[in-house]
């Protein structure tokens, strides 16, 4: 257990210090949301209507951004081999790394939502719903992305293929995330139904992500 705690602390430290990629995601999120009015025009009524969808898409793309470094940096400096050989189960180690990754890249996106929601003219109630759905949904994006990151690190030139592998798998999270956020704003379905399914998807990703990623690392790096 202390090994996992040390791993969590180390990954968070590496991410927030100089050279870590943690602030990049939020910056990218901000840029995406800023680009949308340039494409659609500054019609605040329109932006308010599609605001939850814009925020979700932006967060989805931003969460992809740092994913390829999740295992690649450890693979380059050899610490991934140490994790593979250690007595800690690889699945738990992968889950810990994913948790650290979410704390440093996913959580800032959720915290940034209130500011960005202001740009899109969202009501406080809708803003809260978007933030809540992202808080529940972004861990699923990270844990699904873990599989892609593990596959990509064994290929040595991950980059682009990572997005191609991960994005189709995130469709259910996007559907129920946006649906829950929208239903809080306008209806027609009650908030609870899509939101609980979103929670379920996140829980499923907690199981599938670490196991598949650990299998990919074991088979790919041996």
């Amino acid at each position: 257990m202390s090994g996992l705690a040390a791993l969590l602390e180390r990954d968070i430290r590496l991410a927030v210090r100089l050279g870590g990629g943690a602030p990049m995601g939020v910056l990218f999120f901000l840029i995406v949301v800023t680009l949308v009015p340039f494409a659609l025009g500054p019609d605040l009524a329109l932006l308010r209507r599609i605001g939850p969808a814009i925020l979700w898409l932006g967060a989805l793309l931003a969460s992809l951004l740092a994913l390829d470094r999740l295992f690649a940096a450890d693979h380059e400096d050899g610490s991934l081999d140490l994790i593979l050989m250690s007595s800690v189960s690889l699945e738990l180690a992968v889950a810990t790394k994913a948790l650290a990754h979410w704390i440093t890249t996913g959580l800032p996106l959720v915290i940034a939502v209130p500011v960005l929601a202001l740009f899109l003219g969202l009501e406080p109630w809708t803003m809260g719903a978007v933030a809540l759905t992202l808080l529940v949904g972004t861990p699923a994006l990270t844990f699904i992305g873990t599989v892609g990151a593990a596959l990509a690190v064994t290929l040595r030139r991950g980059g682009l293929i990572l997005a191609i592998l991960v994005l189709p798998l995130t469709i259910p999270v996007l559907i129920f995330g946006v649906a829950a956020a929208n239903s809080a704003a306008v209806g027609p379905v009650p908030f609870g139904a899509p939101f609980t399914i979103l929670c379920g998807l996140t829980l499923i990703s907690f199981v599938i992500g670490p196991f598949a990623a650990a299998a990919a690392l074991r088979h790919g790096l041996e």
Partner: protein
Amino acid sequence: MPLLDLANPSRFLSLVDRVLPWLVVATVAVFAIGLYQALLVAPDDYQQGATVKIMFIHVPNAWLAMFCWVVMSIAALGTLVWRHPLADVAAKAAAPLGAAFTFLCLLTGSLWGRPMWGAYWVWDGRLTSVLVLFIMYLAVLALWRTVEDPSRAARAAAILTLVGAINLPIIKFSVDWWATLHQPASVMRLGAPTIHSSILVPLLIMGLAFMLLFLTLHLAAMRNEILRRRVRTLRLMQAQAGA
């Protein structure tokens, strides 16, 4: 144990050489019967007219689009669990076939949809989930093409295939839920009991024909892949001997 016998690629190749001509003959024969039944015997639909004939191509393609992923998933288990040498060959050979059947399913569906719904594409639940399936096939193909070492590529593709096998039903459910939310009941539904036997029998024959076509193409593609790997190994040996 026949499956273990087939682990020897040479034995598999000789089996394929014996079986393949018969399969080709059977495929052509069943296609001839099926197309005759579908195009000339089966009646036109009283509402859709002759366009209903597209269904005899469209529906078997949709069946095979899903069946190919099942074949790939079983092969992926063979790769990861039993390390069967032919499993990754089978998975690799099935991926482009699955993508092709899925593409044909989308294409024929879109040609059928134009006169029926007035649009080549609608964001209906079934259409959208087949589109996602097509994208997943392309992702698997992209993964196969990224790695030059076949056995490494096989294990990476196997994990993606299995993750996809778990996720595809979830995606299907989500997309259905999303589609009913957006546009309720705009698409006609052919329930199983409402199909008359004059349509159902040709459809099943065409399904069998496409299944035989898949089997033929899959075995031929597996044979080609084994030969391609042998050529690759020989080239590598030659390069090493020359150096």
